[in-house]
Amino acid sequence: MIDIEQLRSEFPILATEVNGHPLTYFDNGATNQKPQSVIDALSEYYKGYNSNVHRGAHSLADKATQAFEQTRELLQQFVNAPKSEQIIFTKGTTEGINLVANTYGRANIQAGDEIIVTTMEHHSNIVPWQMIAQEKGATVRNIPISDEGEIIFEEFEKMLSDKVKIVSVVHASNALGTVNPVEKIIEKAHEIGAVVLVDGAQSAAHLPIDVQALDCDFFVTSAHKMFGPTGMGFLYGKEEILNDMPPFMGGGEMIKEVSFDGTTFNTLPYKFEAGTPNIADTVAYAKAVEFINRYGKENIAAREKELLDYATKKLIEEVPTAKIIGTSSNKVSVLSFIIDNIHNYDIGMMLDARGIAVRTGHHCTQPLMARYGLEGTVRASFSVYNTFEEIDKFIEALKRIVKMFG
């Protein structure tokens, strides 16, 4: 059992007020809040051992390098990667996908090939593939979804052929909450020789991740959706695939030797980490992983499920003009909905006036919104630190809004 009061006290922002009300932060799908340990790690790095990694022959550089590489090892354990070299630091999920599209994709996609995504992808898992497909004369196809917001697996099976080179799927949908059956998808894709990228932006902090058990070829995620800093994330890849891939960006750190006659590249993971990396955020990322480990991901997930179930039940019972978008039985803690006759932006503004932060709009999933014939939804996404009282306050605010404008 998690002591919620104790856990909440680790997050200074949760004690603040917004618009004269205690902050109720239900926009965790966009980014979640940071515990004091993560915040402290950032300033401790700059105050105590700011130095460039992997090069200086001095003690500070060594300390920075050790802290930097420790994060890699923690992440290796966090997703059960065979080796820490398979963890490539990135700016986040978007860069991870772009890295794979521009390296593996460019080297392996040919005219007439197909890349499969789902209808519920974030734009970051559509556009990079469209760009490489356009360049190569390939096609991006999308797996249709049911009204409940689940992929139609039979349709996916029908799409499989030797033309398919890459299947890139979201683990948990940011707009619906649906958890996709990635194990089954990976198994089927491997049968036809395609590689699979799993977009773990919404899953890494909420679902158990074992890249070896999943057998995914790539896994990408962002630190800022797992209590860590923004502008930080990682790509996991299978070793032989990463070794075969050409580099993404050129520069310092990623080379073995440079001459005007030619350049040889460094080994993993540095081959993909050109330039001085985001050292401070990498170091602080370790504290975010430690936070999750300290409370236990299973405990965190159980708490978030309780919050989701409670909010879903209350919304259905007490706001009858609300319609939930995404009703799969297997969801992360995302409650997306619309309310008759009231625009999602207006609802967001009115909730904000009571200090309740939600996301409104298309959630960077315009094809998904088009599938439902919607411009957008209101999305409340819960994190372990949210409370049932906050949900009560949220439902009361919605009831008032419906009474006045519904």
Binding site: N19, G20, I342, H343, Y345, D346, M349, M350, A353, R354, E375, M404, F405
Partner: protein
């Protein structure tokens, strides 16, 4: 001469007085703007086309004009009530005035009622786009006549 009975400045002062009654309460202010939006008569659907959309607004805002006896009549609609409420305020200030008056209008009520802090920077930019579009229409009518 405009058909409007009060000057642009007077109407703006009326708006400021109306908002003063809300005592700066954020929720009441938003509710009030939404009510204004709901009171604005809807545009005929045939006018809700892309050519009439104001560029630079996060929400969809359609704006049309008619020109009668040297005065511009604005009509507008939006897919969100808050945006509709915001443009209804501009219509209240600028409707039934000559192109010249609209072009020269100094619009101060928005800052005076502290709207920027309530609706946020993105919507404030959208509000600026509404004003720009209305003044653009005035310029076009003034050039034509």
């Amino acid at each position: 001469m405009s058909v409007a009975t009060k000057s642009i400045e007077e109407v703006q002062n009326d708006i400021i007085d109306d908002f003063d009654l809300l005592d700066g309460d954020r929720e009441s202010t938003i509710f009030y703007i939404m009510e204004l939006g709901q009171e604005l008569s809807a545009l005929d659907e045939k006018h809700m086309v892309d050519e009439n959309l104001i560029k630079g607004c996060q929400s969809k805002v359609w704006l049309t004009t008619e020109f009668e006896d040297g005065q511009i009549i604005f009509k507008a609609d939006s897919n969100t009530d808050i945006t509709k409420g915001l443009i209804s305020l501009l219509i209240r200030v600028l409707n039934g005035r000559s192109p010249q008056e609209i072009m020269n209008a100094e619009l101060f009520f928005f800052d005076k009622i502290g709207m920027n802090g309530v609706i946020g920077s993105q919507r404030s930019n959208g509000f600026a786009s509404m004003i720009k579009q209305m003044k653009f229409y005035a310029l076009a009518y003034s050039a034509k006549n």
